[in-house]
């Protein structure tokens, strides 16, 4: 605080600290106008004003206002018709739709519509993609380069070319369609909404959640039928997200079949179009046979179960009131309140359960046709439904079996495993058979003298010597004549003298198993097979063993 001020303060006011408080500013009263305000921002940096610097508004005006036909002001602010009306659509499930004006008046978004009308005919020039991150996009919130790209993108979209886009641009386009019914005919608008939905829903999945509702509102307000043919590929998604599923059901004709189709599509929580086996390749079979099987089963169930008779006649009506274009940018005089009276398909939990079971049984059959192994479990109390649905698929499978009788061609590499068919020549076959004995000799080595230690000649890669195991045994120092031990042990076994055999093994410091193994190895070379099993001489070889032991002089004749 400076001294001058301090001098002016009297003693009584010594304790007053009002002078220390910042002076109060008088604020202007709040304006209720929520229109967007444009602010000119002077260039940053140099204190010298650059002649080339242009304000944002000037730049926007340079870009936007070039070659745009100016609409008469009288038209721009012309109030829209707010009259209420009621009508009955073609959909037999919907009794009536009443469209009334919105209760609470508001003026925000009016600037958007003005700009939309102003820029409606603006064509863009080619430019690179510019990202945009606006949840409620408006022209006034876009940067000049974003605006530039939007017009270029919109020009292409109007010609059916879908360039790289951002959520903000798509929403802006949709808001134009919603808020400009005078400039865009409702029939065209519906096509434009559907096209933009199908074009970008893969990348921007939120379009599914929003456009399910906005398309419904648009059709209700403009008395249009839902574009089911165009939306058929994504009906499964629509039935998942739409709050008013009945609007999208195909129920435009009298009779039970239409009602059954509605039941199939929205009469349960089981959305078969979301099956992992429902692919572009299998969509046809799913669509065809789901409907066929359900109608087949429903037709037979309708005989005894009135719930499968046309529910429209049962008078189970419901009423819903929905605000149009919820969460969308929508000006007041476009916004409506829509009241729908309709027949709710399947309010019975039991009926919904039956519909779900029929769908699952049908899908099981279709999976079987497609060669897939996984199946839904069907509760046993619904076996009668299974029987009905399986009846439908019997001729389907039969026709499939006939069409797939032709086996697929063998791969090219299978030719490597074929032999030429040359016919039978006995002389040639005989020479093959005789020459094969040489291989048999190599493998068996049973036709040569197989006395241990004898080289039987080079008849093959490995037949020139007896196993080293036997040779290593024979190479022991003198005094350990294993062949004598084996012969004595073999004699014991031939006589059934098990204890004698054990004694010989013990005296030779060998385990009984090892002694048996040694004997078998020797006898394998002699008779071509082992001769001892479970410490007994095999019956087939008793004669051979006896002769062998007699030859060795161990067994007296």
């Amino acid at each position: 605080m400076n001294d001058n001020k301090r001098k002016n303060i009297g003693d009584d006011e010594f304790w007053s600290i009002d002078y220390m408080m910042p002076p109060k500013r008088n604020l202007a009263s709040f304006s209720k106008d929520t229109d967007t305000a444009e602010i000119d921002i002077p260039p940053v940096g140099n204190s010298v004003r650059r002649d080339a610097a242009v304000s944002i508004s000037e730049r926007r005006a340079n870009i936007a206002d070039r070659n745009i036909p100016v609409r008469p002001a009288s038209e721009l602010l012309k109030p829209r018709s707010l009259a209420s009306f009621t009508y009955s659509p073609e959909n037999r499930l919907i009794s009536s739709i009443t469209v009334t004006e919105w209760d609470s008046k508001y003026t925000f978004y009016r600037k958007f519509r003005l700009d939309a009308e102003k820029y409606f005919d603006k064509r863009g020039s080619e430019c690179v993609f510019v990202p945009i991150y606006l949840t409620i996009p408006q022209y006034s919130l876009m940067k000049p380069e974003q605006l530039h790209y939007y017009f270029w993108w919109r020009s292409n979209v109007r010609n059916g070319v879908y360039l790289e886009s951002a959520y903000g641009y798509i929403l802006t386009y949709i808001y134009e369609i919603i808020n400009l019914p005078e400039l865009i005919k409702p029939e065209n608008g519906l096509d434009m909404l559907t096209d933009i939905w199908l074009a970008y829903r893969d990348k921007f999945w939120k379009l599914d959640t929003y456009l399910c509702e906005w398309v419904c509102d648009y059709c209700c307000i403009h008395r249009l039928s839902p574009p089911l043919d165009k939306l058929r590929p994504i009906l499964g998604v629509i039935y998942t997200f739409a709050s008013f599923k009945e609007f999208y059901s195909e129920y435009s004709s009298d009779g039970n079949e239409s009602y059954w189709c509605a039941l199939l599509n929205i009469g349960s929580d089981c959305n078969w179009r979301k099956s992992k086996f429902y692919t572009p390749e299998t969509a046809d079979i799913f669509d065809k046979h789901m409907k066929g099987a359900f109608i087949y089963a429903a037709e037979r169930l309708a005989v005894t179960d009135s719930r499968f008779v046309n529910s429209h006649e049962n008078g189970l009506t419901s009423t819903i009131v929905r605000p149009s274009y919820s969460e969308a940018l929508c000006v007041y005089d476009i916004k409506r309140r829509i009241t729908v009276e309709y027949t709710a398909v399947s309010r019975s939990p039991e009926l919904r359960r039956m519909v779900e079971v029929i769908i699952k049984i049908s899908e099981n059959n279709i999976r079987a046709i497609l060669g897939k192994k996984s199946r839904y479990q069907i509760p046993p109390e619904y076996s009668y439904l299974k029987k009905l649905v399986d009846e439908y698929f019997v001729p389907v499978r039969a026709s499939l079996r006939q069409s797939s009788k032709t086996p697929p061609p063998e791969p090219e590499y299978m030719k490597l495993y074929d032999a030429p068919s040359t016919g039978i020549t006995p002389e040639n076959a005989k020479s093959i058979e005789e020459s094969s004995w040489s291989v048999t000799e190599i493998l068996v080595d049973a036709f040569e003298d197989n006395t241990p230690g004898t080289n039987s000649g080079d008849n093959g890669p490995l037949c020139d010597d007896t196993p080293e195991i036997i040779q290593s045994v024979e190479n022991r120092e003198a005094g350990h004549d294993d062949s004598l031990i084996y012969d004595r042990a073999l004699l014991c076994l031939l006589k059934g003298d098990r204890s004698g055999f054990a004694e010989i093994a013990n005296d030779s410091n060998m385990m009984q198993d090892s002694l048996c193994e040694g004997i078998n190895e020797v006898m394998y070379d002699i008779i071509g097979d082992i001769c001892i099993e479970d410490y007994k001489v095999i019956d087939d070889y008793i004669t051979d063993v006896t002769e062998y032991l007699k030859e060795k002089g161990v067994l007296n004749g």
């Binding site: 299998t282 074929d418 039978i424 094969s436 068996v444 120092e477 060998m510 097979d529």
Partner: protein
């Protein structure tokens, strides 16, 4: 030489019974080895390589019924006779090279269960092999003058064991393996059956937790899904140390790997095969020979077969000059083509002789009758893709049985009246439960074919 057939009686009986039943004979296969001379010689060369301390790996690929299992049994029998250790198993959904739920270790257990030696050709030789080796060490110690049971005797035997164990310790898992062998010797000295049993259990891979194994044995690890092949390599080294010629492993029905539906699981198995291949052909598994049998789809299918795995494809595929029309069996793949008509006739002729020898009965079949029978088999519908030597021999044995039991029967009457069993056009299963089928492809489906 061909007229003087001296086949051991038991082998001959078993052979004839197996052929009549349509199963691959376990014994006696050399006597009906016809038409595979080149393939047999190639495999015998592999045995020689293994005997010399090298290693080998072969894929035997052929259609179902073309003789893969027969060839495997043939080489197995020969290897046993020549002093090799062998082990064989068939893969199945429960037995793979690697996988969850112990499917890899299941293969190892089956192999060790079927471990065979010359004196134990039917398997279960693990205990016999170790016992025999220890017995030999004891005999050598006794031969050097030491008194059995003395301290010096035990020390001498132990030192021999440690000598071998020391060489094994350099291998992966060698230390534990050597410890188990030593423990087995200790147990055999003290007649400790429980310890011996624990050692055998460990070698068979039957311990599922290290804790359980450690409680009984001085080991730090167990044989499991990840390391079982390392222990096969170890057994191969051990077999060479204890004077066997080597260790030959036969794995058949590899088509079960092709049938694994999960791609990740299938590729894990292929990766393990690649590792085995690299070890074998890189010389890192001395004394080990591997023979694997599979179908053409298992090898050559570029979507699911071995050729779908690029590393294996580049190693197993034929070179650019392979299509020149010349036979080349030096590569890792042996392709078994079908037996030609003449080879089938030679086979039938051979079986006739063996049958006569087995029953000591002169077969009343001449060349023209054999020709007629074979032509009847080969001209049936579907014979070009479905007929196999197994089915031909099974039917022929039926003809011989009828001739033997009915003196008034002739071949012409039997095959002319249609008494011969009709050829099966369904894939027949092998004795080990083959899951092969001639058509593994998923049926092609076109929605446009459906009409209500």
């Amino acid at each position: 030489m061909g007229d003087e057939i001296k086949v051991p009686r038991r082998i001959l009986t078993s052979l004839i019974n197996s052929l009549s039943a349509g199963v691959v004979p376990r014994v006696g296969t050399p006597y009906i080895a016809i038409g595979r001379n080149d393939e047999i010689n190639a495999l015998l060369e592999d045995l020689k390589t293994v005997d010399e301390g090298g290693c080998s790996m072969r894929f035997i690929i052929g259609r179902y019924g073309s003789g893969k299992s027969f060839l495997i049994q043939l080489i197995r029998s020969y290897a046993l006779e020549q002093g090799f250790l062998t082990a064989d198993c068939d893969l199945s959904p429960e037995r793979r090279i690697c996988g969850a739920k112990g499917t890899g270790i299941a293969t190892y257990r089956e192999l060790i269960k079927n471990l065979s030696s010359k004196s134990s050709p039917e398997g279960g030789a693990i205990q016999t092999v170790i016992a025999r080796w220890l017995s030999r060490l004891q005999s050598d110690a006794a031969a050097s003058g030491l008194v059995p049971g003395s301290d010096g005797f035990n020390a001498k035997v132990r030192s021999e064991i440690f000598e071998v164990a020391k060489e094994l310790e350099g291998q992966i898992g060698g230390f534990d393996f050597a410890s188990v062998i030593s423990s087995y010797y200790t147990a055999s000295l003290s007649d400790n059956e429980e310890l011996k049993s624990a050692c055998i259990r460990w070698l068979r891979g039957e311990y599922t937790t290290k804790t359980e194994a450690r409680s009984l044995l001085p080991v730090g690890d167990i044989i499991n899904d990840e390391n079982w092949f390392d222990y096969l390599k170890l057994i191969a080294v051990f077999s060479k140390k204890i004077d066997y010629r080597g260790f030959i492993v036969f794995i058949d029905e590899c088509v079960n790997l092709y049938k694994i539906s999960n791609r990740i699981s299938r590729e894990n198995n292929y990766e393990k095969l690649l590792s085995m291949f690299n070890d074998s052909l890189g010389g890192r598994s001395p004394g080990l020979g591997l023979v694997l049998g599979g179908t053409p789809q298992f090898l050559e299918d570029t979507r699911r077969g071995l050729f779908s795995y690029e590393a294996l494809r580049s190693r197993l595929q034929d070179g650019q000059f392979a299509a020149s029309g010349y036979k080349n069996l030096s590569g890792p793949v042996i392709r078994l083509r079908r037996l030609s008509d003449d080879e089938l006739f030679a086979l039938v002729s051979r079986v006739t002789k063996l049958y006569s020898s087995c029953y000591s009965w002169e077969a009343r079949v001449n060349t023209s009758e054999m020709t007629s029978f074979l032509q009847l088999c080969l001209t049936r519908a579907g014979a070009d893709t479905m007929i196999t030597p197994r089915e031909i021999l099974r039917d022929y044995m039926t003809v011989l049985d009828i001739l033997r039991q009915n003196d008034d029967a002739t071949v012409e009457k039997i095959i002319g009246s249609g008494n011969v069993l009709s050829l099966s056009h369904e894939p027949s299963t092998e004795v080990c439960g083959s899951t092969e089928s001639p058509d593994d492809s998923v049926p092609q489906f076109d929605p446009a074919d459906i009409d209500i």
